[in-house]
Every structure is written in C-alpha cells, then in structure tokens.
Symmetry: C2
Subunit: 264 residues, 2 copies
C-alpha cells in the first residue's frame, strides 16, 4: 500500500462521501478563476484516486449542473466544466474561512434581537440570518460579527462579549461536531506528512483534506475559540490542515490536465 | 379657595392616595439625614394639608414601622419618627433619579441573556435583575446600564444600542404609564407657579409634586428618551417638576417643626 492510498484510507474511514460535495471541493480548490476549466478526464482521474465510482461522478455532475453550480462545455467527445459565477462567489466566501491560518479573532460583535413571536414564525425569521453566518444564542437572539445592520426592524446592540457561560459554549458545540473534529484531528495526525510526487495524488489528497475539514467547519458559525468548550478541536484541526496543505502545494491545472491525459 | 388648596386639588384629582407611600415621600424629601426626625405633630400638619385623615396616617405609620421603614422614639406624649438605615439607603438611591435635572444619558450598556428555561422559572430568575433597575427587552433578555456583572452565569455583552425598533419602544411604555405621564403633565401645567409663604404649605406641595412624579417614575426602568415612543411625556414632566421645586424651596425641619407646633 502506498503512502497515498494509506492516507486516503485513513481520511475516508469515517464513512460515506457525498460525491457532489467532493466535486464542489475539487472546484473550490483547483478551479477558482473565471477561466479555470476542469476536463472530464481530470475529474475522473481525481475521483478515481479517492475511490469514487464513475457512475456516481456522472450523477453528481448532473445534479450540480441542474443546481446551477457548474456549467459544461463540450469539446469533441469530452466535457469541460467550470464554476458558475454564483458558485464562484459562494466558493470564494467559504474559502476565506476554510484556508485561513487562524480562527476568527473578531472582538467587535453585534446582537440582533427579534421581536417576541410564535416559534414557527421565528424559525422563518431567523433562517436567513443564520444562513449568512449569525450564531444563534437563545431563541430570537443572534450574534453577528462587526457592525449591526441598519434599519433591520430588530433591536440591535454593538459591542464586546463580556461573559460566555458554559451553557452558551455547549449550545455552540453540537455533540456530533465535537466528535467530528476529534476524529478529524486523529486522522490528520495519523497520515503524518506524506511526501508525494505525482501531481494527481497531491491534488487528490489536498482536496480530500480540505473536503473533510470544510464539511465540519461550514456546519457552524465562525466564532473565536473562547465561544466553545475545551473539547472543541477546531483550532487543532485547522493548524494541522494548514501544515498539511503546505506539504501538498497546489499543482497548476495545466500540470494536472497533462498528467490526466497521460493516464496519471 | 387659596392657590395652595387649588394646587392640591388639581394634583390629587387623579384618585386615591396610598397614604404610607405619601409618608415615604415626606421622609424622602424632608428627613434625609440620619439625625433627621419628624414629629407626630409635623406629620399631622403636612398630611392634613393634603387632605389625609389622621386615622389613615396612624395605620400607615404602623405599617411602615412594621416593615422596618421607620423607627419611632417617644418623647413625653408625642412620637418622633425617622427613616431606618435601610430605608435611608433605598431612599437615597431613588432620590438620584427623582431629583435629577435630566433623564439618564448613559451610552454604555450591557445586555444580560438568561439560558433558555421554562417561563415560570424565568420569571423568578428575572425578578431580582428587574428590581435592581434592568429593563426587560424580550423574555430572558435584559438591558442594564454600565458594565456587565462579573460571573453571573449568563451571557453578557457590553456596548451601545444601535437600533431601537418601534416594538421595543412600545414594550417599554405601558399604556397606563403613558396616560399617567400625560395627566401629570397637564396637572403640573395647570397649577402654574404658586407663590406660597407658609413653610407647611410649601413643604406639603413639594411633597405632593414629588410624590405624584415618583409614583410614575419608579414604575419603569431608567432609560433615555430615545427608548420610548414620542407620546412618552417623562422628560416634559421632569422639566416641570424641576422648575416647580425651584419655586418651592425646601424649608428646614426646624422651621417646619416650629410652624407645626404653633398650629401652622
């Protein structure tokens, strides 16, 4: 077993992939610019190395095209894919968080307090705020970074967090995310520092590391470490991800297409 | 009808007095220092001028003594009353707010957010905070002036209020207080600027003005005007109270005792 397949085995031991989501990770890492395209051949080469069946890739590409995430260009018998403008923007925003060297350090926050209302209605009112990165503190009270929005119709308050009691830290840290980060930390430690030469292996492992990291990261709001209980291993994982990516420098798309066209 | 009795008539037109509460106002205005004593004769002279029956005064004094608000000293056949140390402190704290030239102008606030809990339990948890001057914004969220308490077990946040939507202003202004201030503003305007000579009349009218003012003022938290809807007349009442008290300079206790002992 090569160091590469060992590393892939460790990082995928946790369970099933959502293939469309892995493809999102591939584009987010390797094809960021408007002119960046990935060929069907390169996509196959990368996903194959992650143990994903070609049929699953076809289904996922169909879904991503239907959702407006990617666009396709046919060139002879082969397809070429790129991110749609919307997807590129979403991807760019997420990237700031995924690739940052450190967790957010903001000291300036605001609270947004909704008027009292029935629970079902409140869920609807909270949804867009939470989707845009607000953290829910208690029902109807959300924490956002920086200055408060203007004229939102809610009570808003700008300043600094003074006390973060244990019950807030627990609420910020769902059990499955605590467990997820703990597992990821162990996996990332187990794979050591693989010295790889083949650009396709470097790219595939990069994408896999990023994918497993962002799967957890983007499921919770961006809050500094002090908002979480001590068993929250986000910062440890981030440190290890940053370190690994340094040892797996991103190959250029040209290099990868070239390798893929030569069958790896 | 004298200008004095006209003024008393206007200010008491609203309805019943709670006599013990009027006596609290008398002590709060006229007998603030540890050594300050009010004789039974002076109390009778003042309350009589406000149309309160001697029997009601006796009942109220009994209650205030039982509650530890006043202490009594017998001197021959007559009683002498003073505030208990606890009452003096409570009275001093309230005085800062009652006699201030302007409403609170604080810009620095903190929010105190309780953990989610059943409503009945929450009421119990909120009670002491509200009693100590916090404003309730929505269930479980309270606003306090200045720095946050240390280690309260709640989520606390320090800063400035950014947006105060109409629903918060309405919640801060119960209908009966809006109406109360509007009535008081009208009454205070109607009595004009009575020029009184008799120290007992000056003192009685002072006490009555203060009493009607603090009855409303101490029923809501001290918040700046911008926290209230436009129909909230607290600031207008305060301005008029300050003006009236300037025209009714507080007589000394000695002067008043002297007048009372001479039958007014």
């Amino acid at each position: 077993m090569t160091r590469f397949s060992q590393a892939v085995g460790i990082l995928t031991a946790g369970g099933e992939f959502r293939v469309w989501s892995v493809i999102v990770s591939i584009f987010g890492d390797l094809a960021r610019e408007p002119e960046d395209e990935i060929s069907g051949a390169l996509l196959s080469a990368l996903t194959e190395r992650l143990g994903i069946r070609p049929e699953a890739v076809r289904v996922a590409l169909h879904r991503l095209r239907k959702d407006g995430w990617i666009t396709t260009r046919k060139h002879g018998r082969s397809g070429h894919y790129r991110l749609s403008p919307n997807a590129r923007e979403t991807s760019r925003n997420a990237r700031e968080r995924i690739y940052a060297d450190e967790n957010r350090k903001t000291d300036r926050w605001h609270l947004l307090i909704l008027p009292p209302m029935p629970q079902s209605e409140r869920h609807d009112r909270e949804k867009p705020w939470l989707a845009s990165g607000y953290a829910s503190l208690v029902p109807g009270v959300m924490l956002g970074a920086g200055a408060a929005p203007v004229q939102s119709g809610n009570f808003t308050f700008e300043g600094e967090v003074a006390e973060i009691p244990a019950w807030v830290k627990s609420a910020n840290a769902p059990t499955e995310l605590i467990a997820g980060y703990a597992r990821l930390e162990t996996s990332l430690a187990s794979i050591g520092t693989p010295l790889l030469d083949a650009p396709l292996e470097i790219a595939a492992l990069r994408v896999l590391v990023i994918h497993q990291w962002r799967r957890l990261l983007l499921r919770h709001p961006a809050l500094p470490d002090r908002f979480y209980p001590p068993e929250w291993r986000e910062a440890a994982c981030r440190q290890r991800v940053v370190e690994l990516l340094k040892h797996l420098p991103r190959p250029s798309l040209a290099e990868l297409e070239n390798a893929a066209s030569q069958g790896g």
